[in-house]
């Protein structure tokens, strides 16, 4: 059998150092690129819509970017009402364990993919400011309840037409949006920890059986956290687009009953 050494083009162990250095032959760059495009597109769209301050309401529908709606008449807040409320959902998503993985890979290339080299830099992980603030994720989780209450109120209002029960396509869009955001919130790792993950012994704890049951339910949701995160993110944008197009008169909301 043939034996040869060090053929040109073959990379040795020293060649595993440096940004993008890898011997992987699969399309490892596709996932971080797709995440980069997806998150950047959402970020740009959400920023533009938040500062637009217009076309966020039509009939009983309110865009989720503007919920809860505060000072729409600009009595004391001169900017778009969305700017007042976007910090909550933005903080919740930014500190979310899934999104952290996603943007550390796609935006910071730290690392871009597994066993793919990084640029040399002083690495401190999540131990120093500002990334140490990732530890306040659970506070954004608590805050998210305010937004969920508001979104469900908007979803119910979406079925109220001049005081009468009715539904258009937008009513169901708002309803699905609220349901997806609720699922995203309750599939969160911090939620999983607080309902039971912080216990060492379910059988010894007060309400241990109930907490075990809750922990198992949240765990089954948490296993799909990435999928739920993307689905809910896409649907928030879709809901806003729908309300905007209806408010602009570009499309007509189909009244179902």
């Amino acid at each position: 059998m043939a034996v040869s050494s060090g053929q040109a083009g073959l990379r040795n162990i020293e060649a595993r150092v440096g940004l993008g250095a890898t011997q992987r032959r699969d399309l490892w760059w596709v996932q971080p690129l797709a995440v980069f495009v997806g998150l950047a597109a959402f970020g740009i769209y959400a920023t533009l819509r938040a500062f637009q301050g217009n076309f966020y309401q039509w009939g009983p529908y309110l865009s989720p970017f503007y919920s809860p709606l505060i000072d729409p008449e600009h009595h004391w807040w001169p900017l778009s009402p969305a700017v007042l409320v976007l910090g909550g959902p933005l903080g919740f998503r930014t500190t979310c364990y899934y999104y952290r993985k996603a943007y550390y890979r796609a935006f910071f290339l730290d690392p871009a993919a597994c066993a793919v080299g990084e640029a040399r830099h002083k690495y401190s992980g999540e131990t120093k400011f500002p990334l140490i603030l990732q530890n306040i994720h659970r506070y954004f989780f608590y805050l998210s309840f305010v937004f969920l209450v508001s979104l469900w109120r908007d979803a119910v209002r979406g079925f109220m037409w001049n005081g009468h029960f009715g539904a258009g396509v937008g009513s169901f869009v708002l309803l699905i949006d609220a349901a997806l955001l609720t699922t995203y919130t309750f599939s969160c790792h911090s939620c999983r920890h607080m309902v039971g993950g912080n216990l060492d012994c379910f059988s010894c704890a007060k309400f241990g059986g109930t907490r075990l049951s809750l922990w198992k339910r949240v765990t089954s949701l948490n296993e799909h956290h990435m999928l739920i995160a993307w689905t809910s993110l896409f649907f928030v944008a879709f809901t806003d687009v729908y309300v905007m197009l209806v408010a602009m008169g570009k499309i007509q909301d189909l009244r179902l009953f």
């Binding site: 059998m1 043939a2 034996v3 040869s4 050494s5 060090g6 053929q7 073959l10 990379r11 040795n12 162990i13 595993r16 150092v17 890898t22 011997q23 992987r24 032959r25 364990y97 952290r100 993985k101 550390y104 890979r105 730290d110 690392p111 597994c114 066993a115 080299g117 990084e118 690495y123 401190s124 992980g125 999540e126 131990t127 990334l131 140490i132 530890n135 306040i136 994720h137 659970r138 790792h189 911090s190 920890h193 993950g197 912080n198 216990l199 060492d200 012994c201 379910f202 059988s203 010894c204 075990l212 948490n222 296993e223």
Partner: protein, 246 residues
């Protein structure tokens, strides 16, 4: 008979280079079989660490076509044969010879972890619902693929201040043990450097035992660190109730 070219790292701590060997393919062959063929027929001094050849001992870890894997569980027919198949030693640890790396640092870290310490007056009875979480972590075979792929060790070389996913798994198993009475959370934050982990999940991707390292061990521990160091509400609630929250 079909053949494939293997490009295997040859060298030691002072340096090395890949050497190509042409190996005949056989049905069901794994990368470790190919390395054994090279040892048996072409280069008897090739250094390869292995033991069980059944995915249980965790000895034969290497980087096959750039991915950290067990060579005994990587089938040759799962790899493209149009180019030489590269087999390199683990990057996170110093090379001793060829594919054998010095992994003693891992055992030094392991010794620093406070062992299982039963609660005072322990009733030695456990229920399945309480041990299911630690049982998952007991599947670890210490192949150190997770340590190798973790960029904190691999690219940033933080061996002095970071324990790595393998040992977060071990600590998680102890912390979630229903009969254990010690808390290792302060050590997790201050000595074992869990804050350096930025949860990019590579450890989970390479684990041959399919342990959910990130979701079930690391994030669970990070949340416990938050309980103890970053959450004033939990701290106040524990002061009021006198509970340690466990």
């Amino acid at each position: 008979m079909a053949e494939v070219v293997m490009a295997v790292h040859r060298g030691d701590a002072s340096g090395g280079k890949p050497v190509e060997y042409t190996v005949p393919l056989a049905p069901g062959m794994v990368v470790l079989d190919a390395l054994h063929y090279i040892q048996g027929h072409l280069s008897p001094d090739l250094a390869v660490r292995w033991n069980c050849k059944a995915g249980r001992c965790g000895s034969c870890s290497a980087e096959v076509n750039g991915k950290p894997r067990l060579t005994c569980k990587t089938r040759m027919d799962s790899l493209p044969s149009d180019k030489p198949i590269t087999v390199l030693p683990l990057k996170a640890f110093p090379v001793i010879k060829d594919l054998v790396t010095d992994v003693k640092w891992n055992y030094e870290v392991n010794r620093k972890i406070p062992a299982f310490s039963p609660r005072p007056g322990t009733d030695w009875k456990m229920y399945q619902e309480d041990v299911e979480r630690p049982q998952e972590f007991r599947k670890c075979i210490e192949c150190f693929l997770c340590q190798d792929v973790c960029h904190v060790l691999r690219d940033h070389g933080k061996h002095a201040e970071y324990a790595g996913p393998r040992f977060f798994v071990r600590v998680a198993g102890l912390e979630m043990h229903p009969l254990d009475g010690l808390s290792r959370i302060k050590g997790m934050r201050n000595q074992m450097g869990i804050g350096l982990c930025n949860i990019t999940k590579c450890c989970t991707e390479v684990c041959p035992e399919e342990i959910h390292i990130t979701d079930n061990a690391i994030i669970a521990l990070k949340e416990r660190v938050v309980d103890q160091f970053y959450d004033p509400l939990v701290w106040i609630a524990r002061k009021i109730t006198g509970s340690d929250g466990r």
